[in-house]
Symmetry: C2
Subunit: 194 residues, 2 copies
DNA sequence: ACGTCACCTTACCAATTGGTCAGGACCCCT
DNA sequence: AGGGGTCCTGACCAATTGGTAAGGTGACGT
């Protein structure tokens, strides 16, 4: 009973480590030490480092997708966009490692990206349909929905997580600043979309 | 005389490798093999892997900054923004490893980011002044220049380099698509800024 | 009492890593 | 001819890596 608890603890710690330090930079020994456990315990629950990473991706990305879908459910037009972006920002502030993990996966590419793509495909499709519909209704400027998605993704991801870039322009990554950034980003997007 | 040539070859190959595969994923042995040289040769020219990386950063980032400043020189208003973004896109298409390197550095953080920040500080300051001036003149919407810089950086970087994300929404990373993306991004930015 | 199963550990390993050390080849200057 | 500098290499190394094999421990059903 307490055994399954260990598995969950490993998953949580691994999500944090992979999301902030990256796959290569996290060794099983480090991870084990942070958990107060031997490396072999990790390998017992998840046959290899790759399988552990896959498990982390599966849980984290699915949860992220659900959060986004949930935030948009029942809304239309600009409020829907606003709500989804707010939801993502909330995650970016409270659990930055989750977006960090997503970025790490796209960085690694290959099979890892495939895995995430499959998980997020329905969410993306949903967003594409939403945008197409809103444009047809005249609630948004006519643009290529795919490119719009990429731009928005990049912007949110960057503004939410690129701490070093923020520092470069003199913005300290505090909670207050994050709120300002979110508001500013929404104004920016609204101006471009409506 | 031909000796200094080796040094340059190492720098070029290292830029490519670090920019596409990342610092951790590139071993000195790999790098040496690609160059048809022994690892010790690399260590002879650049005392350590860290020093090599630092040298790569210094050359690549400085050149990037110069390209941006050059693109903006002599222009004002929207055409200046357009010109700089075109310049960055040109690099993104022809030498994606250069932007990849920049992203890798911000990912690693710490001293590496400091290094880049110092190199790019004058460019950033220049851009900030430009934006402030344009806003005062009424050529651009009033927003926080810093946040605007981060948003634009993230968007350009993402749209230009996030191949995996592009694939996720069904955009293949071809030259033709890159041109479309650039045009779309400019329309997007223009709508938001003017 | 006994087997067994889930869970975790110790002991160990082969491969890879960045880095050191001691040369070797070549060129230039005297 | 010979000394010294530049450039490159082979031999070697300690540390770290992900992973294997085998053993221990406790709970639980019979």
């Amino acid at each position: 009973m307490a055994g399954s608890d260990t598995r969950e603890r490993i998953l949580a710690e691994a999500l944090d480590a992979f999301g902030t330090r990256g796959f290569d930079a996290v060794s099983l020994d480090d991870l084990a030490e942070e958990l107060g456990v031997r490396k072999q315990t990790i390998l017992y629950h998840f046959g290899s480092k790759a399988e552990l990473f896959a498990a982390v991706i599966d849980t984290a990305v699915v949860e992220l997708g659900e959060a986004m879908v949930e935030a948009g459910r029942g809304r239309t037009g600009w409020p829907a966009v606003e709500s989804v972006i707010n939801a993502v920002f909330r995650i970016a502030v409270r659990q930055p490692e989750r977006l960090g993990l997503l970025r790490e996966v796209t960085r690694l590419g290959g099979e890892w990206s495939d895995r995430v793509r499959q998980s997020l495909a329905p969410v993306i499709e949903r967003a594409r349909l939403f945008l197409t519909l809103e444009m047809r209704r005249g609630n948004m400027r006519q643009t290529d929905p795919n490119l719009l998605l990429v731009s928005t993704y990049s912007t949110v991801m960057g503004v939410a997580t690129e701490v070093e870039v923020l520092r470069a322009v003199g913005i300290e990554p505090t909670l207050r600043e994050a709120v300002r950034r979110r508001r500013e980003l929404l104004r920016f997007l609204e101006a471009a979309l409506r």
